[in-house]
Symmetry: C2
Subunit: 262 residues, 2 copies
DNA sequence: TAGTGGTCTAGACCACTCC
DNA sequence: GAGTGGTCTAGACCACTAC
C-alpha cells in the first residue's frame, strides 16, 4: 500500500482497499480459500471494521468473494453462465434441464404481474385493490414455484403465473396446491401454441422466501428475469425468476465459460 | 409501525424500515418529490443514520429512490426499458439509435477480453503479461468508446474492442485515437459479414471512468452486457457495455413499459 | 455559507456455524 | 463455547450543490 497522501483527488479508503484486496485475491489466494476474519483484516489494513466491510461487500457484489455468517469469507469461483436465451421457443417445464417444480398455489398475483397478464382491465380496478374479497377469485392465477440448480447449486427461484384460462383442461381434484398440481399446470400449459416470448432483466433484491431458497440473506442482490409467454395474441403466462447476482452470469447465446466483470 | 416485539424471528431494523418507506413512497409521494434529509428521517424513525442509510441504499438499488450528494433524495421514476435484443443482427454503429461514438484508442485489452478475442493463445502468454513492451502492439486492439442515451439521460457506457485484423481497410492517417477514427473503425467493421452475436449479462460495479459518464459514483451497481460479434468463424469484436442498474431494465424483445421489481 | 449525502470511526451486541 | 459475519449506535468530518 504505502502512503497515498500525494493524491490530489483522494479516493475513498474502501475503494482503495477493494483494489488492494482484489489484487491480493488474484495473486495470493486460491478459489475456495478462506480469508482472515474481518476484525483481523481491518486491523491489518488499519481501518475500522465498517470500512473494511464496505470493500468486502463490493467484492462480493462482483462475485469475487463469498461470505457466510458463522463460517467466514472465501474466495468465490468464477460465475457460472446460466442460459436464459429465448431461442428455444418452448414452454416452461418442457424438455428443460435444471428446473424443478416444487409447489403451486392459487391466488391474486402482484399488481405488476396482473398488468402484464392483462387482468384488471376494468375501469375501477385501481379503486378496489384492497378489496380482495368477493371478486378476488376472478383475478387469481395458478402460481407455480420452481427452483433452478446448476452443478448442485441453487441459482434461481421462479414464480410462474398462469391464469386459469390458459389451462382450461386442468383437473384439480379439489386441490389447488401442491407439487403434483404444479406439474399438472405445466403439462396443460404446454398444450397451447407458443407464439413467442419476451424477456427483461433488471436488478432487484431478494425477497425473504427467495433468499431462503437461494441460501442468501434477504435483500441480497438478484437479477430478476421477467418473461412473458405469448399465445394466440395474448399473454398466456408470466414468469418472474430471480437469479443470484453474485454467482450467476446470464447468457443469451453461447458466450461460454469466461467471466467479464468490471 | 407499532411494537413488533412479538416476532419470534425479528427482522433487521433496516429491512423493516425499507418496507415502511417503500409503502410510504407508494402512497404519499410523487415521482421526483424530494424526501426529508437523512438526519431527519433517522430521527423520525428513531434509528441511527447508518441504519436509515442501509434502508435507503436498498431502495436505491431497486430503483425506487435516487440520491445525489449536495442535493437530496428524490423518488425515482420507473425504470426505463432499454432494448438489448440480439435479433437485429447488425454491427454496432449501423442503424442504431441512441449510441454515440466519442473516442477511440489503441491498446492492449483486459485479459478477459483478450481471451474472448482469442488473442494470447501462445503458450507463454500468461508469463509475460506485464512485459507490455516489445510484443504489446501485437496484442493491441482498437478500443471504441461509445455512450448510449435514452430520453436525454445517459444509460450506458461501452468499450468496443476491435482487433486490427477485423478492420484491414482502416486508414489511420497517422492517428490512432479520436472520435473520427472511432467512426472509421465502426464503418470498416460493418463491411465484414456478421454471422451472429452472443450476449451475457452480469452484475458489476462501475469503474471510475464509466461512473463519471453515467453520472454516478464509482462502485455504483451496473449491469454489464458482454457481446461477442462473430464473423467467418471467429470473434471479430467484443463489446463490454455497462448499464446503470438503478435506472435501467434490459429488454430482450418487447415487454414494454411495465416494471417488475422485487 | 448552509445543507445535503458520502465516508469513517470505535465501539457494542446478535445470529449463526462448528466443534 | 468459541469464532464468524450481520446489525446497530452516536458521533465526526468531508465533498458536493445551490444559493
Amino acid at each position: 500500500m504505502g502512503t497515498t497522501q500525494l493524491e490530489s483527488v483522494p479516493e475513498p479508503k474502501y475503494w482503495h482497499l477493494k483494489t488492494v484486496i482484489s489484487e491480493a485475491l488474484d495473486s495470493e489466494f486460491e478459489v475456495g480459500e478462506i480469508l482472515p476474519n474481518e476484525r483481523e483484516l481491518a486491523a491489518r489494513f488499519g481501518v475500522a471494521r465498517a470500512t473494511l466491510r464496505q470493500a468486502l461487500e463490493q467484492l462480493e457484489l462482483e462475485g469475487r468473494l463469498q461470505r457466510r455468517r458463522g463460517v467466514g469469507t472465501t474466495v468465490a469461483p468464477p460465475r457460472v453462465g446460466v442460459d436464459v436465451s429465448t431461442a428455444q421457443h418452448r414452454w416452461p417445464g418442457t424438455g428443460e434441464e435444471n428446473w424443478e417444480a416444487v409447489d403451486c398455489t392459487f391466488a391474486a398475483p402482484p399488481a405488476a404481474v396482473a398488468r402484464l397478464l392483462e387482468l384488471d382491465t376494468d375501469a375501477d380496478a385501481d379503486a378496489d385493490a384492497d378489496a380482495a374479497g368477493s371478486r378476488g377469485a376472478a383475478r387469481s392465477v395458478h402460481t407455480v414455484r420452481r427452483l433452478r440448480a446448476t452443478r448442485g447449486q441453487s441459482v434461481a427461484a421462479e414464480q410462474l403465473y398462469v391464469p386459469a384460462s390458459s389451462v382450461p383442461g386442468l383437473v384439480t381434484s379439489g386441490d389447488t396446491t401442491g407439487p403434483v398440481l404444479a406439474r399438472g399446470v405445466l403439462r396443460e400449459l404446454a398444450l397451447l401454441p407458443l407464439d413467442g416470448q419476451d424477456r427483461a432483466v433488471e436488478l432487484g433484491s431478494a425477497r425473504a422466501d427467495d433468499a431462503k431458497e437461494l441460501d442468501r440473506l434477504p435483500g441480497a442482490p438478484v437479477l430478476v428475469v421477467t418473461t412473458r409467454y405469448l399465445s394466440e395474441g395474448r399473454t398466456a403466462a408470466v414468469s418472474v425468476a430471480t437469479y443470484r447476482a453474485d454467482t450467476c452470469r446470464l447468457t443469451f447465446g453461447d458466450v461460454g465459460d469466461l467471466q467479464i466483470a468490471s
